[in-house]
Structures are given as structure tokens and as C-alpha cells.
Symmetry: C2
Subunit: 158 residues, 2 copies
Amino acid sequence: MSDAPDQPSLGPLPGYIGYNLRRAQAASFRHLDAVTPGIDLSPGQFSLLTFLEANPDASQTAITRAFGIDKSTLSPVLDGFSRRGLITRKRAAHDRRTNALRLTAAGLALLARMRARVEAQEALMAAVLEPGEQERLLDMLQRVTDALETDRTAAAAE
Amino acid sequence: MSDAPDQPSLGPLPGYIGYNLRRAQAASFRHLDAVTPGIDLSPGQFSLLTFLEANPDASQTAITRAFGIDKSTLSPVLDGFSRRGLITRKRAAHDRRTNALRLTAAGLALLARMRARVEAQEALMAAVLEPGEQERLLDMLQRVTDALETDRTAAAAE
DNA sequence: TATTGTTATACTCTATAACTATA
DNA sequence: TATAGTTATAGAGTATAACAATA
């Protein structure tokens, strides 16, 4: 007890939106990992499977466009899905350069299990928001994301 | 133009808080990286330097507690700071196991430059929020983070 | 020539485990 | 014995560049 050496200060960090976004995102990630033993899907992988459910026969390029990731990032992830029997990759007839991706029955089943956990986490978050706040939160996050992306791409164009 | 093959759907993802947190955080990270050429500090590294400014002579363990990272994650980051002349690490007199960390003048200067960019990014985000919304956003993020951490640690305790 | 996808490679962030030195 | 810090190592997530196949 002699040992509590002044509460350390975080300085201006707690007042930053960016810092709090990072903390919330990290908490969401860790929480989901903790409540999904035996599922072994990251949030990003869950997003990919969700996309494939909504867009059967999507190409890999369609995925990279939807999520803003590089094709070289995606390939090995899909290798893993394929090895685990969660998806099939077939050469598309109309353009034999592209892969037509599909969830297997096992992929759909795992996605359903994961979605239940994700939605339980969403419920947990919603439970600490007042009526109407959740919609406001989503809307604000959307606006903030758009503002940052717009400015970044404008800055990149000099 | 014959080529727009139906808008792909993201399914339920855009309705999830978690998905939007991830997107916003990633946008913040990328944006900051784009507007800080020549500074070479990640958001996490900026947090560390900010902490050291607010807590001179802090120990490494104090930092790991404040940010929830492992000591083995921190050591190499501090090696980098030290090599770049941003901090000093001295053995503490009162307990020679612990390091007393301090920003150098160069560290303070780089931190000040980075903080200006961070606060410009904050202003960009604030600009798309209505009066009062920023405080609401910070408060909601805080509540959500707390709810997730509480549930995760409760679940971990069986 | 341009596009789709794969692979080699590398960098960052994170952790666990084994270690040294101090307490 | 317990704690502070370092180091070896590994795994996830990301990217760039070079490549093969196809358009």
C-alpha cells in the first residue's frame, strides 16, 4: 500500500477521439477473441465470410475493393479458409483469370456460430447505450471515417 | 460500364458497432500516417511518448499497466526510442531493477510536432460532428470499452 | 498491354517463455 | 521467491515487387 506511486496521468490522450477509437476497437477485438474459444476467426476473417455469404461467386478482386486490402493480403487468408474446408475456389468460366468463391456448408455453419457471438457482443455494447444512441454512434463513426478518408485521399493527390 | 457487376453487399456488417469501430480506427491510423511524413511514429508510439511527458521517470512496468501491453512488447519499442535519441533509460536509485524513463529534448520536440498533427486530425473529425456530439461520442466509446472489458474479465474468471 | 491471382519477402504489433539482475 | 527488464521466437496482419496465366 505504501506503493501506489501517484496515479499516472495519460495527459491529453483521454480527450482524443482517435485514442478512444483505438481503445474501443482493441477491447472489441479482445472480447470477441475471449468469447469464441474453438472458433478461430478474427474480426477481419468474419467480415470476409460474411461478404462471401452475401455475394456468392465473388472474385478476390471484388473482396479487396470492398475492404480496401491488398490482393496479396487476401490470398493466404483464403488459402487458410480453403484448407479448413470453409470455402471453395473455382476458376470462373466467363473469365478464367478470376476465382469464384463460395462458402461451403461447413463455412456457413461456422459463420453462423460466429455471428451469434458477434451479435451477443453487439447486444452487450447496446446495453450501455441509451435509446437512440446506437444509431447516433453508428452515424458519427461513419461521418468520422468518411472525413478521414476524404482528407487522406485529397492529401495524397497533393 | 457494361462491367459494374451489381453492387456487392456487406450484409449485416454496416449495422455492427464493432465493424464501424474497426473502420474508423483504421481510417484514423492511415490518415495520421499519411499526414506525418518524416515523423515515423505510430499512434501507439505517440501514446507512449505522451505518457512519458506526463510521467517523468516512469518505469516500464508503469507503462505496461497504463496501456495493457506486455513488457516484452514494450522493451524493443523503447530500444528504438533510445537509439533515435528520443528517451533516456536510467537505472532507478531506489530499486535498481527498474528503469527511470525520460524524454530528451529531441523527444519532446518530436512529440510536439506529432501532437500538432494529431490535433489537426482531431479537428478534422470534430468538424463533422454537431455541437455536443464530440462529448457524446467520447462518452459512448468509454462506456462501450468499459462494458467489453468488464464482460471479458468476468468471463475469463469463469 | 492490362488484369487476376500467387508467391517471396519484409515490417509492425503482439504475445509466451526462458533468462538475468535485483529485491 | 517475486519482480523488472531483456531476448529469442512465433504468429497475425499488412504491404511491395516479381511472376504466370489469361484477357
